[in-house]
Symmetry: C2
């Protein structure tokens, strides 16, 4: 499929495989992707697509290259390893126009920053859409992924961990929790999902949590107010490795609202380690 | 005041200073304390009171010594460093009568175990009352304790951390949370309050949380369903030291439902480190 056909779509690409996956999916859907790669973040694979590498703060340049390529819709996707250091921003004229807004955003938390970026993009003339709208196969669907399935004990832990993950999402505090043998043992906040899983393993090694075999469930879901266009929760191979290492039985993710990054690797790792990965529809009535 | 006067009160004493504080308060209130000290847990100070040292599982003996001393009401209080190992229980005949119940209790989580113990004590003829009913001064009251007071920024963090602590209490997952600059950064589950505070300090040292000076609030409250007679949440000198070490600005505790252990030390430590300790009435309408 030629890159020159179809309705253009802009991709602002951070790191990892997902931006490339989105570019491929866009091509398959008959779209014409143009990538603005964030310097130091995006993978080399973006070189296979029409692209330009820009630094943080080159907002005016981003706007003009997207306009030059006919982009009206864009996807912002990929890992950001480093929190941008405002003092090192390469500010162009376009950026200076939006600086007052950017400064206001940086004062707030991540969620505000991300939805603020969507607003700014809108003012620059672009509609931000979710990566999952171009590549719906990225998102968790109902039921088990891979070979293993949750048993009855795990089913209870799924319900408990999901309830906890939802409760902390409602108060904008976190999006993941671990339950083992019916008890919530860890909830995620600033340490991040992997940090929380590692803590469960450490508590077990210290003898403060005890179980035999694989037990317990990591649940991950989106906050009710989360802007899924720019901030969909993800699990990936690192999550599976951490869960396996901690001795958990499996991972439950909210269907339609959690992205599974590198799905093939996720399935292979989970199958090999004996973990289930299950898509769960979040229900307020679950005990 | 003579130890031989007044209505008897039984004290089942674990470790720390609180059992002794309760015994003193009972004397002041004209009660006649008799202590059953748990072997390996209770402090030597209990020797100043009529007492008997018993091992885990000597339930029949406990019943008979309390009955012999005219005890009808009892307080169960103090730290239990070691989770009782059922295989090492010294089971007497009184214990054997309640074994089926004890076994059923041990299958469940802590909360169930503790309220189950209250039920068993009731069946043995004793009414369990809270330490705070004998020594109400143990419990947090409204307003600042000590020299320092929360400022406006801290006030917002109090509200956020309290809301998080309440939310995780409702789902029986934990009773403490930390908020910094309006953001919930940690929630307590199996790692315990001190473990959670230490994590905040570690995230700061790793550069994953940034603030200058003292910032952020630890909030602690009881779960709605918590049996305050046997399981009131506590803070003490260790909590203050951990909070000071992590760089927090202060500690907020739910009035009437959190116990302040070693209050004088808590105040002195907090005053010296520049931390506030504030009693906060938990309100569902706090943002």
């Amino acid at each position: 499929m030629a890159v020159t056909e179809g309705e253009p779509i802009g991709i602002v690409a951070g790191g990892g495989s997902v931006p490339l996956h989105v570019a491929e999916a866009a091509l398959r859907a008959g779209r014409k992707p143009f990538i603005v790669a964030i310097d130091g973040e995006a993978e080399e694979g973006i070189a296979a697509y029409p692209h330009e590498v820009l630094k943080w703060g080159q907002i005016g340049r981003m706007q003009s290259v997207f306009v030059a390529h006919g982009v009206k819709e864009l996807v912002m996707i990929g890992n950001i390893r480093i929190r941008p250091d405002f003092s090192k921003f390469k500010l162009d004229l376009g950026a200076i126009r939006v600086i007052p807004k950017v400064l206001a955003l940086l004062k707030n938390g991540d969620a505000d920053l991300l939805s603020g970026v969507v607003t700014i993009m809108g003012e620059l003339g672009f509609t931000v859409i979710g990566a999952h709208e171009i590549a719906p196969e990225l998102v968790a669907t109902e039921g088990p992924l891979g070979r293993h399935k949750p048993d009855t004990v795990a089913g209870r832990d799924i319900a408990r961990a999901m309830r906890a993950a939802r409760a902390i999402g409602v108060i904008d505090a976190g999006q993941a929790a671990v339950a083992i043998n019916g008890r919530v043992v860890a909830m995620e906040a600033a340490e991040g999902t992997d940090g929380m899983i590692d803590r469960v393993g450490a508590l077990r090694r210290a003898g403060r949590l005890k179980w035999s075999g694989r037990r317990g469930v990591l649940a991950k879901c989106a906050k009710p107010q989360q802007d899924l266009r720019v901030d969909m929760p993800t699990i990936g191979p690192k999550t599976v490795r951490a869960a396996a290492e901690a001795g958990l039985a499996g991972i439950a993710v909210e269907t339609g609202r959690v992205m599974i990054v590198d799905r093939d690797d996720v399935i292979e790792l989970a199958d090999r380690a004996g973990l289930f990965i299950a898509g769960e529809t979040s229900r307020a009535d679950v005990e």
